[in-house]
C-alpha cells in the first residue's frame, strides 16, 4: 500500500525527467530529479510503494526510456492513468514498471489517498475512500512479456530456443 501522487493530463516525458539530466542514465540519478518540473516535492517525498495517478495521454512526447526508469527507481510501484502515450506504454512494460489504464481509478483517486495496486490482476483499491477499480486487461502477448520479466528476458529466451 502506498500514497497516491496525482498529476493532470498530457504529462510528457520532459516533465517526468527533464533533458538537462539526460547526460547521465543511472536510474538512481534520474530518480532524484523525477517529476521535478511538475512537482518539486515529488522526488524528495516519494516513498517505496507509492503510486502515480495521471490523466489522459500520460508519458507523451520523447521516447526517452529514462522516464519510466526514473519512476521505477523512485520506488513507485505502479502508474495508473486514464490513458498512456504509445512509446511510454511500451517502455514501461519493457523495463518492468507496472502501468494500469483505468479512467475510473484515475478519476476516483485524489492526491494523498492510500492506494493498493495489484498489477497482475489489474485490481486497484482506494483504501482511503473504500472504493475499488478494475484496470483494462493486457493483451495475451504483453502478459507473456511481463511474465518473462520484461523484453530482455523474453527475447533472450526466444534467441536461446531459436
Amino acid at each position: 500500500m502506498g500514497k497516491a501522487w496525482k498529476f493532470g493530463h498530457d504529462i510528457d516525458t520532459d516533465v517526468i525527467i527533464p533533458a538537462r539530466y539526460l547526460n547521465r542514465s543511472e536510474p538512481e540519478y534520474l530518480a532524484a530529479h523525477c517529476m521535478e518540473d511538475a512537482d518539486a516535492g515529488f522526488a524528495p517525498g516519494v516513498k517505496s510503494g507509492d503510486v502515480i495517478v495521471g490523466g489522459k495521454n500520460f508519458g507523451c512526447g520523447s521516447s526517452r526510456e529514462h522516464a519510466p526508469l526514473a519512476i521505477k527507481a523512485s520506488g513507485v510501484k505502479a502508474v495508473v492513468a486514464e490513458s498512456f502515450a504509445r512509446i511510454f506504454y511500451r517502455n514501461a512494460l519493457n523495463i518492468g514498471l507496472p502501468i494500469l489504464e483505468c479512467p475510473e481509478a484515475a478519476a476516483g483517486i485524489e492526491a494523498g489517498d492510500e492506494v493498493e495496486v495489484e498489477p497482475a490482476s489489474g485490481k486497484i483499491t482506494n483504501v482511503t475512500r473504500k472504493t475499488s477499480f478494475q484496470a483494462m486487461p493486457f493483451p495475451v502477448f504483453m502478459q507473456e512479456l511481463m511474465a518473462a520479466g520484461g523484453l530482455v528476458p523474453y527475447v533472450r529466451g526466444r534467441l536461446k530456443n531459436a
Binding site: S25, S83, R156
Partner: protein
Amino acid sequence: MSMTITEKILADHAGLPEVVPGQLITAKLDLVLANDVTGPIAIREFTKFGVDKVFDAGKVALVPDHFTPNKDIASAEQAKLMREFAREQQIEHYWEIGRVGIEHCLLPEQGVTLPGDMIIGADSHTCTYGALGAFATGVGSTDCAAGLATGEGWFKVPESMKFVFHGTKFQPWVSGKDLILYIIGKIGVDGARYRAMEFAGEGISALSQDGRFTMCNMAIEAGGKNGIIAADEKTEAYLKGRAHRPYKVFASDPDARYAEIMEFEVSEIPLQVALPHLPENTESVEEAAGIKLDQVVIGSCTNGRIEDLRVAAGILRGRKIHPEVRLLIFPGTQEIYRQAMHEGLLDIFLEAGAAVSTPTCGPCLGGHMGILAKGERALATTNRNFVGRMGHPESEVYLSGPAVAAASAVRGEISHPREVVGNG
C-alpha cells in the same frame, strides 16, 4: 484485401499476405537507430541478450547529435560509450562531429532511409522517414536493443487516419509546419494516439520533400505511431544520387479502410503558432502577434533543412535582428550547412546578427546551446513546447515555421512575415 500504405509495409516485413488493425506481428527491420542519449541505455540492454554482434552492422545507425559537441564530461562519456560500441561492432552508419548531423535530417540525406523500409529508432521523431513512404516509428532503448540483437520487432498494426489536403493555393509563407500544427490543433496531442497518420491530396503533392519531412516529423506530437506520405516523383528526385540500394514503393489502395478521414482546403490554413505548453495550443499568427520574445531558434529535425534556411534568409536579407532578441540558427547537417554557405545564406544570417551553429539537437530539448532563463520566452521552429522544454520550468516556448520565426526575430515579437517584407 485492400490495405493502407502502412498496412502494406507491415505485411511485407512480416512475411504475410495481409494484416489488419489490431493484429500483433513480428516484422523484419531495415534499420535500427539510436542517438547519444538513448544509445547508451540500448547498448547496456543489448549486452544482456547473450549475443556478441548486432544483427547486421549495415542496418544500424548510431548518431551522436543530442549533447554533441559534448557539452560536459557526463555527455562526453555517453558519446564515448556509443563510439566504442560503433567501432567494436563495425557499425556502418556512424558519424563523428564534423560529419554528423541531426539524425532525422542526416539519414534521409545519406540515403540510409528509403521508401518501403521498416525502421525503428530510439528517438520519438523517427516518424520523420515516413515522408519517404517508409514505416518508421519511435521506440525506447530496450526495444531498440532487441532490434539490434534480433533484427526484428513486435508491432500492433495501427488503425490509419487519413488527412487529405485539397487545393494547391497555399497562403503566402504557409509550409508543411503550418499544415501539421493545424492538424494537431484540430485533433489534439493524443488525437492520433496509436494510429498511423497518412497525409495525402493535391496539397501534399504540391509540398516539397523538405515540407513533407516536417509534417511526418511531428506525427508523434499528435500521439501518432507513424506519419506517412506515399513516395512520388518528388521523392524519386530527392533520392537520386542518395539511394544506393533498391527500394519498394507502396501506396494505399483506393478502397483501403481508415478509422477516420479528415479533409482540408490548403487555401484556408493560415500561418500557425503553437502557444505554451502543448503543440495543440495553436492559433493563427495574427492571433498570437505582438508577444515579446527573448530568443528565436531556427533549425532542428523539424525545420533545419535547406528550404527552411532559404525561407528564413529571404526574410532576413538586408535586415537586422531586433536588438533585444537572440537568433540561433542550426542547419540540420553539414551538407545543408555547406549548401547554405554556397548560396550566401550564412552571410545573410551573420549580417543580420544571428548566431549560426554546427548541427546539434542542443536547444530543442533544452540540452545545451541556447537554454532559457526563468521567465524568458522563445519562438522556435522545433517540435515541442512542453514545460521546461528549452530550459527553466518557468520559461516559455512558442512554435512556428521558419518564416514567422525569422520575421519575429526582426520585430522582437511574434509577427506575420508581411509586417517585415510586405506581401511577399
